[in-house]
Each structure stands twice: as structure tokens, then as C-alpha cells.
């Protein structure tokens, strides 16, 4: 099939065996590629009960049919693994150029298994694949590792994906960095890679996969690229980056403040905004492969104790490490975020864990003795900066903070679960379900734990006829529960498709399901329809759910912490609380899930997943 190499590169680090395998065409037809294909491959091969840090655990890097094509932002890739943070299946994506190189090297999937008996890195230069010693790289930061490997491999066009010290030390929310601080951020893939003694993957590809309708695809891609480049709102994203949310979203209270206890207000958010960043520290914009947007920033702080010349923080980081902790010093947050990137930590989970600890400290649930003398007071930016290294190395109080909100709360007890803001162990991203009600069912049911990227449901609220191609018509105010279960299902399906192709969300905002179908068909020669595309979204959601059910996820886990169901007293979402039960009832019915949370036999049959029914119903 065109658009793919139909090749899986399998590397067993225990045996050092490297093999090429063919991927059946039916897998592309049923799952397209990216995270969806990765989830299917993991489902086929990995026992859900396996410890994420065991050698048997799989780590997959997957591209899609449009990767490395002329479509804007087509350099993305997906990583699929069982999360040490949540204990369920996780797919996490990243931009940059690394995915393009993997595809151009001639592979759709890189599957890693086993554990090396000493630290190693993998180099892939087209057909030449090697497992090489990484002893000399251990302890280096992500940036140092990248520089070292580019020099060592004497190829400036090679791209590096690596872990930092946090991944080496198996910190639960450690991440992967590729290129210039593009992060595979959520779920703890860094620790999974670290558990395999794998420090980095260097890749360079010089081939080009053939597309089915090469010229037509190119024309259509250029048309979409122009739409992305000129759409309302994209100018702002280009100018101010995602930090513009701090400038503009505070009136709706979508920005969480003080561990989700206060409505957002401009005195706190504007000092963290994109306008100030542009005025004071922006050096230049950064774009991924073939990007027409350039939403990322490179910032420079020339004076003071936070001097840096590195990638700048995104909105999620500014929220988690800023407003959530009552810190509105842009330089301090930028610097702490840079340290997280260097040591390889997820900034959402890190910031959320700090904010939770601050509230515990305020409520005297954590003593000075327990924090080892660190004063975890609101707004304490020294703590934010100083704890990064401790968390990465599992030292001092940082060892505790590195456990993440759920585990910290389970140790502290004393009703701290009421304000421990996570779903299934994943700290909640920086968008508030009290501001946009659809986040409620979306976070509660998101396949990897609380996530705004597995269904950007809020963009379909306050919108006329949000997805007419998928029969989502009408107008749904943000503070209404009506149809939010349906919106969540379609938003999640949309994300599954985007993550299977693999495309950037910001570019996809200008696209319709018809556009996606057109792209896939032109790239591969398939003959998908818009409704078939939605069905593929349903299929992958169901398969992910089945895996998670086998990991132990039940309906009771599809929940929100009490804090998010408690009304705010101020701001643009004051006195508003989503009716989660109402939304979930609708969502479960549409998905065909039973009361205990497992997909029904009939829903699985309808999606062509007869082969997994026995796995679920024999238990």
C-alpha cells in the first residue's frame, strides 16, 4: 500500500537481535498508523499485566501515512507504551523532525523490547541499524546528549531522541526529548526507555516513501497549508505562541489557579503571557518539519539568576508551573521549565505535583520535617527551580514529589484525595471542566488518563454546527451538559484519527473530516469515507479501552477529583459545575460500554473487534 513502507524495525535489546518485519496491509486499513497502529501492535503482543519497567514491556515509535509528506507539520510521530505513571496504555506524541527521519529511513514502526545489559543507544542510518554503547552519555542532560551524539555520529542532519537523568532514574513522569526540546511528554515514557538501559535513538533517513496520488496530494496539502497559515487565530499563535492563552483565556476561567481552587484573573495570568514573553525574552520562533505556523518560542534571558538561551515554555507549562503554584514570574517559570526539559521531566505533572504539595503544606498535611526543611509556600519560585534536579535524581523531598499527585496523596491520606487533581494517576492538563463542561466527560474517559489532547472537546462548545460531517450540528454553550457526551466521543475520535495520520492539532483546526479522508486516500490509495473514518476512531478507542480494562480500569475510575466538581467562587466560571454523571450516561450509551465500563460484545463486533471479545469476557 502506498504511503507506507509496511516495515516494522524490531530491536530486542536483551538479545541484541535486529529484524525487519512486514506489517499486514489490513492493519493500515483498520488503524491507519500512528498511535492507533501502535496500540493494535501492543495489544497483539504485550500482556497487559506486564510491569511497564520490565524487559518484556514494549516501546513503540510509530509514524503515519502523511509523515514526511508536503503536508504542514507532517514530522510528528507517536510513542506507545504501558505507562508507569498510570498503569494503563499510553500514547504520547511529539513534533520536530525526528519522525520524518524515521519514516525516511524506511520504517513505519520502531519496536523496542528487552533490556540491554549496559547503557546503549540505537543508531539508524537507513538500513544500517546499530546498538552502541552509551556509557559515556549517562548522567548527561537531554541537550548535552543530543549535542554529543550529533558530533559522535558526524552527521548534522541526524536527529536525536533521548532521555535525561530523570528517565535514567525511572522517575514516573520522566519524558523523552527529540530535536530542540520537542517532548514526548506525558505518561512517563522516559522511565520506560531508561528501564531498558536505552539512552537515545539517533536517526537519519534519505529515502522517500511513494504516495498514491503524488501530485494531487501535494496540491491539496499546499491548499491546507495555506489555510493553516492564514486562518484567524493562527497569526496570534505564531506571534505569541501557546502562551497567548494566558493573555486571553483568563476571563473564561479555563486557566487553573492555586491548585484549581480559584478562578483565573488577569493580574496573575498576564505576567505569564505571550505578549510579555515576546516583549522581553523572545529570540525567535521555532517550527516543526514543514510547519506553516511556528508556535514554539526560543527565549533568551540575559541577566539575573535565571539566565538561559533555550526553548521557551508552552501554555501548559506556564499553567502548571505558574498559575497553579501562584507563581507569575515569567523568567523563573521559563528557567524551571528549561531545567525540566534538560533533566527530562513532564512539566504538567511536575508543576501539578508542586502545587499539590504546596496545598498540603498550607493545610499542615506536610511538615517541615517531611519536606526536609523546604518551605512549600504558594508562590515560592525557588522551590520550583530547586526541586527539578531533586525530582530527576530521586533525592530528598524531590523523591516524594516525583511520585506524582496520586501516589503522594495515597501516602499523605487525611482527605488529601479531595484536592489531588488527577484522573487515573495522570495529572490534569491546564483546562478547567468548570469553564468548559465537555472537559468533564473527556478527562474522565480519556484513554490515557486526564488529557486535553485525546479530544479537544472544548473547541466544539460555543460553536455553530461544530462537525457537520459527523452529524454534530447545533450550538452547545460551554456551561451546559446537553450533548457533551456525544461531543466528547467525536472529539476523541477526531484525535484518534489525527494521532494515527500523524498530524499536528493546530494544523488540523482548519481541516474537516472530509479533508482528512481526502489526505489519507490520496496518500494511500484507500477509499475511506468520512463515516468510516469515525468508525476507525471508535475502533481504536474501544481497543484502547479493552487493554485498559484488562489492566484493571473500571467505570469507577472514569471520574473527576472532588476539587474539579466544586464550584469556583470567582471568575468567569463562578458557581458552575459540570454534571459528570449525566455526561457519562450519554457517553457510555453512545460508546456501547456496559455499566462496569467495559465495551459490550455487540459494540466490539460492530467495530470488527471480534478477536478481542474472548480476552474481555473470559475473565
Amino acid at each position: 500500500m502506498k504511503g507506507y513502507w509496511s516495515k516494522l524495525l524490531r530491536i530486542d535489546l536483551t538479545t541484541e537481535k535486529i529484524t525487519n518485519e512486514n506489517i499486514p496491509q489490513s492493519y493500515f486499513e483498520d488503524y491507519i498508523g500512528g498511535s492507533c497502529l501502535g496500540i493494535r501492535l501492543i495489544y497483539d503482543e504485550m500482556d497487559p499485566s506486564i510491569d511497564p519497567f520490565s524487559p518484556e514491556a514494549l516501546l513503540l515509535f510509530v509514524t503515519g501515512p502523511v509523515t514526511a509528506s508536503p503536508l504542514g507539520t507532517a514530522g510528528r510521530f507517536q510513542v506507545v507504551f504501558k505507562s508507569p505513571q498510570t498503569g494503563i496504555l499510553c500514547d504520547s506524541s511529539s513534533g520536530g523532525f525526528w519522525g520524518t527521519e524515521l519514516k525516511n529511513a524506511g520504517y513505519d514502526v520502531l519496536l523496542i523490547k528487552g533490556k540491554a545489559n549496559h547503557p546503549v543507544y540505537i543508531s539508524i542510518f537507513d538500513d544500517v541499524v546499530q546498538i552502541r554503547s552509551a556509557e559515556h552519555l549517562m548522567g548527561l542532560t537531554t541537550f548535552e546528549t543530543r549535542d554529543h551524539l550529533i558530533e559522535e555520529n558526524r552527521n548534522l542532519k541526524a536527529r536525536v531522541l533521548c532521555i535525561g537523568p530523570a528517565g535514567e532514574n525511572l522517575t514516573l513522569y520522566s519524558n523523552l526529548m527529540n530535536d530542540e526540546a520537542r517532548m514526548v511528554g506525558r505518561g512517563g515514557p522516559g522511565g520506560v526507555m531508561g528501564s531498558k538501559n536505552l539512552k537515545a535513538i539517533v536517526v537519519r533517513g534519505t529515502r522517500k516513501v511513494e504516495l498514491f496520488g503524488e501530485e494531487e496530494f501535494k496540491k491539496f496539502a499546499i491548499h491546507l497549508n495555506k489555510l493553516s497559515a492564514t486562518a484567524p487565530g493562527i497569526d496570534n499563535l505564531r506571534k505569541y505562541g501557546t502562551a497567548e492563552v494566558m493573555d486571553n483565556a483568563w476571563p473564561t476561567s479555563d486557566i487553573p489557579v492555586k491548585n484549581w481552587s480559584v478562578g483565573s484573573y488577569e493580574e496573575l495570568t498576564l505576567p505569564l503571557g505571550g505578549k510579555l514573553m515576546k516583549a522581553t525574552m523572545l529570540k525567535h520562533h521555532v517550527g516543526c518539519y514543514h510547519c506553516t505556523i511556528g508556535c514554539s518560542r526560543w527565549v533568551q534571558i540575559r541577566e539575573g539568576k535565571y539566565q538561559m538561551d533555550a526553548p521557551g515554555p508552552e501554555y501548559e507549562t506556564l499553567g502548571a508551573m505558574g498559575t497553579l503554584c501562584m507563581i507569575n514570574d515569567l523568567e523563573a517559570v521559563s528557567y524551571a521549565a528549561h531545567l525540566c526539559n534538560a533533566y527530562g521531566l513532564d512539566t504538567i505533572s511536575y508543576g501539578s505535583s508542586i502545587a499539590f504539595a504546596m496545598e498540603c503544606y498550607e493545610k499542615r498535611l506536610l511538615t517541615d520535617q517531611e519536606t526536609e526543611g523546604i518551605r512549600m509556600t504558594w508562590g515560592n519560585k525557588d522551590v520550583l527551580v530547586d526541586l527539578v534536579k531533586q525530582v530527576a535524581y530521586k533525592e530528598g523531598f524531590g523523591k516524594f514529589v516525583g511520585l506524582g499527585v496520586k501516589r503522594m496523596s495515597e501516602i499523605i491520606k487525611k482527605d488529601s484525595d479531595k484536592f489531588a487533581v488527577h484522573v487515573k494517576g495522570m495529572e490534569v492538563p491546564m483546562h478547567d471542566p468548570r469553564a468548559y463542561f465537555s472537559w468533564a466527560s473527556n478527562y474522565a474517559t480519556s484513554p490515557r488518563g486526564a488529557c486535553h489532547l485525546h479530544g479537544m472537546s472544548a473547541i466544539y462548545e460555543n460553536s455553530n454546527d461544530p462537525i457537520p460531517d459527523w452529524d454534530l450540528k447545533g450550538y452547545y454553550p460551554r456551561h451546559s451538559n446537553e450533548t457533551k457526551g456525544k461531543i466528547t466521543r467525536l472529539a476523541q475520535n477526531w484525535s484518534h484519527i489525527i494521532d494515527s495520520m500523524v498530524v499536528c492539532y493546530f494544523a488540523s483546526f482548519q481541516m474537516t473530516p472530509s479533508d482528512l479522508v481526502n489526505l489519507i486516500n490520496l496518500a494511500t490509495g484507500m477509499n475511506l469515507s468520512v463515516m468510516k473514518l469515525c468508525e476507525i476512531g471508535d475502533r481504536i478507542n474501544a481497543l484502547h479501552r479493552v487493554f485498559n480494562y484488562r489492566c484493571g480500569t473500571r467505570a469507577i475510575d472514569d471520574n473527576l477529583p472532588e476539587r474539579l466538581l466544586t464550584p469556583l467562587e470567582s471568575g468567569g466560571a463562578a458557581n458552575q459545575v459540570p454534571d459528570l454523571d449525566y455526561q457519562l450516561k450519554e457517553y457510555y450509551e453512545i460508546r456501547g460500554w456496559e455499566k462496569d465500563g467495559k465495551p459490550s460484545k455487540s459494540s466490539l463486533q460492530k467495530l470488527g473487534l471480534d478477536d478481542v471479545i474472548n480476552d474481555l469476557y473470559s475473565r
Partner: protein, 91 residues
């Protein structure tokens, strides 16, 4: 009567202004205000306002004095603060 309007996101960028004071007739509704804004910023409004259908092209949130308002017949009063927020997504 005088009301205040605050534009956010790309509304602010397109119109080149954040907070504005505007004199409107007594009895001015939210719908009336939108037509008025389209008149005032005709050339700049073209990217965000559909002049044929007389609706905003992209989804957005309208707040009056801090509360979401969905009713175009909503009656504005002296000193009302109207806030217009286009969709904003971070990542």
C-alpha cells in the same frame, strides 16, 4: 449611553485595540452592538464577520459583566462591559 468593549485574542489583533468605550443608543441589544461594530471596523472586521449572514465567522464567547450571554436580544445598560473572546487553545 456609554458601554465598554474588551476584545481578546485575534479580535484584539485584527482591530488593533483592546478596551474601547463606545456610545450606543439606549435600548441597544447585543445584536445591535455587533452590527455597529461591523460598521465601525468594516475593513478590519471582514476576517471575523460575515457581512452577508451578519454573523461572526468563528465561534467565540460573549460575556457581559462577567457572565456568558447567548441571547442577541440581551439588553445592554449604561456602563456594561462586553467581552469578546475567540477560541483559544494551548498545548
Amino acid at each position: 449611553m456609554i458601554i465598554k468593549i474588551r476584545f481578546f485574542g485575534y479580535f484584539e489583533e485584527y482591530l488593533g485595540t483592546g478596551i474601547n468605550e463606545l456610545e450606543v443608543p439606549f435600548g441597544c441589544t447585543l445584536g445591535n452592538l455587533f452590527y455597529l461594530l461591523a460598521d465601525i471596523w468594516s475593513d478590519k472586521f471582514v476576517k471575523i464577520w460575515d457581512y452577508d449572514k451578519k454573523i461572526f465567522i468563528t465561534p467565540f464567547i460573549v460575556m457581559v459583566d462577567g457572565h456568558d450571554i447567548h441571547d442577541l436580544d440581551y439588553l445592554l445598560t449604561e456602563g456594561s462591559l462586553v467581552t469578546l473572546i475567540p477560541p483559544i487553545v494551548g498545548g
